[in-house]
Symmetry: C2
Subunit: 343 residues, 2 copies
């Protein structure tokens, strides 16, 4: 690990870092601060800036700040990247402003079907769920699929049953109902549009979105997670990129942890999250360059909108997007950022 090649990290790093390679790790001698970093997103393809009111803007920023604080508290105390990712995403899932958990969009049948994935970068263990109904925090379900089942990926009723068996909180249709999302469905229905492709032309009406978090902990471990309600008016059972390990979510300590947001079908066809990892590992590109190329060139060329957040093993963070905005926040304990548009 090269101490000096940090990009947004400042310089107050202790020598303890020198001994921290992938995996294991002895504690830093004494109480020296060790490096950590976190980034989160609340979706790309946000409201157009022209439609954003000051009070809405404030509400979003306060929500991003609250979620960020959750992750910062875990990481600054030496907690794990996996815990930071899970807890930060759970906060965003419980917030009706974002398209995940409580604020999720409705599918063509007026149902909320949720997708989520989580992955850690040491052993590359992963858990994912798709088209799950009635589980309050799909990110927690993804984590217990990873830790307590022999499987990686569960969908539908089977995923819900597993969550209930394992004691996760359920939630009723009332919990998931938000007037704004219901009205979005009615507008989509009125247009006779059924999901993905048509939405690509105007992704800024808020009819899709995602939440995600990536983290580097003081032990040098990376983790990533993503959670979403998918796209308004999507088909029953539609799975986007978020729960597809390698498409919307990926983590590998050798390279980076990444969570994507945007028009999921394109992210699956590009295997975008894993592609970032490969350009770093096999193509020997840095995080910033590789992620920028993927979003600003490849995704744009494919005609799709979206973005990603990623962190590498040195705590460098990249948050490229090609849409008008992306709700996002990041911190490493010394510098903090909360943003929506290009600002």
């Amino acid at each position: 690990m090269n101490l000096k090649s940090t990009s947004c990290i400042g310089f107050a790093l202790s020598f303890g870092m020198l001994s921290c390679s992938v995996g294991q790790k002895k504690e830093a001698p004494g109480n020296e601060a060790r490096r950590w970093a976190i980034a989160l997103h609340g979706g790309a393809g946000t409201l157009l800036r022209s439609q954003m009111t000051p009070s809405r803007d404030s509400a979003y920023r306060a929500s991003l700040d609250l979620a960020l604080k959750t992750g910062e508290a875990i990481l600054s105390r030496g907690g794990s990247a996996l815990d930071a990712v899970e807890q930060t995403i759970a906060i965003l899932e419980d917030n009706p402003l974002f398209n995940a958990g409580r604020g999720a969009v409705f599918n063509q049948n007026g149902k909320v079907q949720l997708d989520a994935a989580i992955m850690e970068g040491e052993k590359r263990m992963a858990g994912a769920v798709a088209a799950v109904e009635g589980i309050r925090n799909p990110i927690r379900l993804a984590r217990i699929v990873m830790e307590r089942s022999p499987h990686v990926f569960l969908c539908g009723a089977g995923a819900r049953e597993f969550g209930i068996e394992q004691g996760l909180d359920t939630a009723s249709a009332d919990w998931f109902f938000t007037r704004e999302r219901w009205e979005q469905l009615q507008r989509q229905r009125a247009k006779g549009k059924s999901g993905a492709i048509e939405n690509a032309a105007h992704p800024n009406d808020g009819s899709f979105g995602t939440v995600g978090c990536v983290a580097l902990d003081q032990q040098g471990l990376l983790a990533a997670g993503t959670s979403t309600g998918g796209m308004t008016n999507k088909r029953e059972g539609r799975i986007g990129d978020s729960p597809v390990v390698g498409a919307g979510t990926w983590a590998d300590n050798r390279t980076c942890a990444v969570s994507c947001t945007g028009h999921g079908e394109y992210f699956i066809r590009l295997a975008l999250a894993h592609e970032l990892h490969c350009r770093m590992l096999h193509g020997r590109k840095g995080l910033e360059k590789a992620s920028g190329e993927l979003i600003l060139q490849d995704l744009s060329k494919a005609g799709a909108q979206g973005g990603l957040i990623a962190v590498d093993g040195k705590g460098r963070i990249a948050m490229p997007f090609n849409s008008e905005g992306m709700f996002r926040a990041s911190s490493n304990g010394r510098s903090r950022k909360i943003a929506i548009y290009r600002e």
Copy 2:
């Protein structure tokens, strides 16, 4: 748009096939023979050689031969790689010897839930379905998800409904019932085992398996497809690697088309199919070397068994596996191979 979506197509395909491929290219000048190639598999983790009887061995080889002929007939007449992949896999799905379609394993609830994916290498369009019940040929469903829906990936009842809307053949529980698979479920239940991880220790009891096909057509296009019933006694809603684009299935004209088989959870965590593509594209390795390393080194090191079939743009074929056997066949019109063990 498959010309004739008959499953036992034999050889009566017209020259109309030439005009029905996705993103088709100019015709070859004159009638010069152009290169094509196909490979298929019927699963790794096959019956132990010690348990294979001569009549069973013959039945498997005849089945592989029949499926191979289907693909050869399409490709040798100038048909598309996508058609060859779909039709070849449909033949294997209809054959009760293989764990896909008719011969699929039962899950923990005694249900047959099917996964499949298909992908073409020019525009990297893809379609996938997971945990689908009652559709005779999931590979055809994956193809129409790709071609006639705005989505890439559908699961459960929503996937089935889409297939029925689109006029696909359904099939009853009787069609899918095979005594051997039912007895496998009872044996697993008696052992108190629920799927994936435990099976890894003894994958040769035939309780898992997959079918897949990859092809290069005379227009230089690649395609890949995979179809499976998953693992005996799997959880309701469990999704393996087969329908996960980038894990069990991938195609890109710049590198290769690949279909995997084996312990799916590990293939997802390695994003194995897309990793092969990346080692070729970014790591500049050849098909043989990259696929051999992945299966014989990386997969083995992860403690899992399985294999893959892959073809590159020059018609080179690789079929590495680290299990005792892998049902497989390949052809390029000049040389033909049908094999089960290392032979």
